[in-house]
């Protein structure tokens, strides 16, 4: 079962907190719909890669922390993390996200992993 609750709310909260320029425009966010769609695609690609790498996960959630499409938090709760050190858990996440990582589309990644025990 995947839990998507709160995602929408968190997205909106993050957008509100986005730093603004002097002109009152969001700082990191482009006004062009094209850029917004690209940002959404990066987030969706991360979600897709994680779901592929952790098909049995109880929860896979990707949060765009700033609305800028390159600062993400990923939350993955999966049985495979049981008994692994935090280092090993996070390395599995990095391995799953090798592609966007190499492409440079992730500037910052916060990782929240948990086993099911």
């Amino acid at each position: 079962m995947r839990v998507y609750q709160f995602r929408h709310i968190r997205w909106r909260a993050a957008s509100v907190a986005t730093p603004r320029t002097r002109l009152g425009r969001p700082h990191r966010r482009s006004r062009s719909g094209l850029t917004d769609r690209y940002h959404a695609r990066v987030r969706e690609r991360i979600q897709q890669l994680l779901e592929g790498a952790f098909p049995q996960a109880e929860q896979v959630e990707v949060v765009d922390r700033t609305g800028g499409g390159d600062h993400f938090e990923v939350i993955v709760h999966d049985e495979v993390f049981n008994g692994l050190s935090r280092i090993e858990q996070h390395k599995l996440i990095y391995a799953a996200l090798d592609e966007p990582w190499k492409q440079g589309s992730i500037h910052e990644l916060r990782i929240n992993t948990k086993g099911t025990a």
Binding site: R86, I87, H90, Y94, W101, E108, R110
Partner: protein, 119 residues
């Protein structure tokens, strides 16, 4: 001496090594700040290395540690984690436990910060 050798030397000779963006006096990244803050609150004896001094440092460091992001915290040469893990360890009390286990009961007597330049 290559950066790899210098990094290994830092890992071999430091109780707590923090590879960060900037220095403790001029922090260049919020995540480096998070890791530094947790180590400071734990009273760790910190040896800080600025990876921004040369792009090659970061590449060589990640090749050694197998960890792609900055900051990276090592205790007695062993990777403990980045900002997320170090903060998580601090919250659970495991950070202090790790420092006690690896550095001894009175590790905090040596608390403080020094910065090492690899360039």
């Amino acid at each position: 001496m290559s950066y790899s050798d210098k990094i290994k030397e830092v890992l071999d000779t430091s109780d707590v090594a923090l590879f960060m963006k900037g220095t403790p006096d001029a922090i260049m990244c919020g995540n480096s700040e998070r890791a530094l803050g947790a180590l400071r609150r734990a009273g760790a004896p910190i040896t800080a290395v600025d990876i921004l001094a040369d792009g090659q440092i970061r590449e060589d460091l990640s090749a050694i540690s197998g960890w792609p992001t900055i900051p990276q915290v090592f205790v007695k040469g062993e990777l403990v984690g980045g900002a997320d893990i170090v903060e998580e360890l601090e919250r659970s009390g495991e950070l202090e436990q790790t420092l006690v286990a690896k550095l001894g009961d009175n590790y905090w007597e040596a608390r403080g910060e020094k910065t090492v330049s690899l360039t």
